[in-house]
């Protein structure tokens, strides 16, 4: 065994001392590395989706007449009609826009459920909740049973200018649809129909829910 190398007492850098320029270079280099790390880190975190994007609902789109899976229930849009005045036991209800009455079939999927959220959404993303001016028997408190489809009507009022391009959205929870499924179908409404409904003078009654025959 030939001993050629001197004993090692430490792993610190050996050799001639670093020059003044070298020391400044080391400090600048450290600063640059720190700034680069912060910059890269900020670039990552600033591109992360915000809370609203992360927790957005899963919108499931389907055609009119086809069941759309909203996780706890299926929604099928059956037909649409409209009016200028709807009426119930409390009297007539007019609107500054137009009434859109959507006939839907709802059926729970695996367990009893309720449908609390129903809105119309227009082409620009404005949402219009189902009206509270009449009792909407299909929404909120009515429990749906699995594979027992229930047909009923839901009434909305929207401005006349958006009524010919709206979709219906329905989901389980009235207040909180984060990360849940939302069923959506585009409504087949023409501007001629909107004009006709807006001009109608006969009040319309919204149908109560009944088990699908």
């Amino acid at each position: 065994m030939t001993i050629n190398n001197p004993p090692i007492y430490s792993h610190r850098r050996t050799g001639p001392p670093v020059t003044r320029l070298g020391r400044i270079g080391l400090r600048v280099g450290s600063a640059v590395l720190i700034i680069a790390t912060l910059a890269i880190g900020t670039a990552f975190t600033s591109r992360q989706p915000g809370t609203e994007a992360r927790e957005r609902p899963f919108t499931v789109v389907g055609n009119v007449g086809k069941p759309v899976n909203a996780r706890t229930f299926d929604m099928t849009v059956l037909s649409v009609r409209g009016a200028a005045i709807i009426t119930d036991t409390n009297g007539p209800h007019d609107t500054s826009g137009v009434w859109i009455i959507v006939r839907v079939r709802l059926a729970a999927r695996n367990a009893p459920t309720e449908v609390g959220y129903a809105v119309l959404v227009d082409a620009e993303g404005h949402t219009y909740r189902a009206t509270g001016r009449i009792d909407q028997m299909l929404l909120g408190g009515r429990t749906l049973e699995p594979d027992i489809p229930v047909d009923g009507e839901v009434a909305f009022e929207v401005p006349v200018s958006v009524a010919d391009d709206v979709s219906i959205r329905m989901a389980k929870d009235s207040d909180d649809q984060r990360m849940d499924a939302v069923a959506q179908s585009h409504l087949p409404i023409t501007s001629a129909q909107v004009a006709e409904w807006h001009a109608a003078t006969k009040p319309v009654t919204v149908a109560s829910p009944a088990v699908s025959q």
Partner: protein, 194 residues
């Protein structure tokens, strides 16, 4: 650093040095009006009929009135009546809103049993207002039950609140928060009970 400055720097206590810097900072601030008093923000007084920008809503106060019994509202105490602020409210956001109860408060009106309006009615059909839809302004009545034992005022001071669109510090979502006074309206009180 030159060696004479070095020696001086070593002799002066740090506190003196910090004090000198602070005085220089204040002086510079004073040069740019940093020490001038700030006027307190004044709440604008608006006449009825003018549109008030109240954050997520645009509010136009119409009048205040004592409601007639045709609304069908029942008071909890016999003999009381309903004192209402009638206003047009327009939802300027993208979605239906149900927080209109935060918009209106009354100032210096005696005999009320609550601070926030107890009922909000839609003027067209006297139904209880649930959601207001975007782009569909509605005339509504914000109502408080008022005791009949107090003399009726001839005018009432209405305080209109608005909210600010900002990030919610708890969960990072953007929402209309921080209710704050945006305007005062003085309106005559009309007796519509008969």
């Amino acid at each position: 650093m030159p060696s004479s400055l070095n020696r001086l720097a070593r002799k002066v206590p740090f506190r003196w040095f910090a004090g000198v810097v602070a005085v220089i900072g204040l002086g510079v601030s004073a040069l740019f009006h940093g020490l001038a008093p700030v006027a307190a923000a004044q709440t604008p007084t608006v006449a009825p009929g003018k549109v008030i920008d109240a954050g997520p809503w645009k509010v136009t106060v119409v009048d205040t009135r004592l409601l007639s019994s045709s609304t069908g509202l029942k008071t909890t105490t016999d003999g009381d009546h309903w004192f209402a602020v009638v206003a047009t409210v327009d939802d300027t956001t993208n979605d239906s809103r149900e927080d209109m109860g935060d918009i209106v408060r009354l100032s210096h009106v005696a005999g009320l049993t609550a601070v926030a309006p107890q009922v909000i009615l839609l003027a067209s059909d006297a139904t209880t207002l649930g959601y207001l839809n975007p782009g569909m302004p509605e005339r509504v009545a914000f109502a408080w039950e008022q005791s009949s034992k107090v003399p009726l005022p001839t005018t009432a001071q209405i305080v209109i609140y608005g909210k600010t669109l900002r990030e919610n510090s708890l969960d990072g979502t953007t929402d209309w928060l921080s209710p704050h006074v945006v305007a005062d309206v003085t309106a005559p009180v009309l007796d519509k009970r008969t």
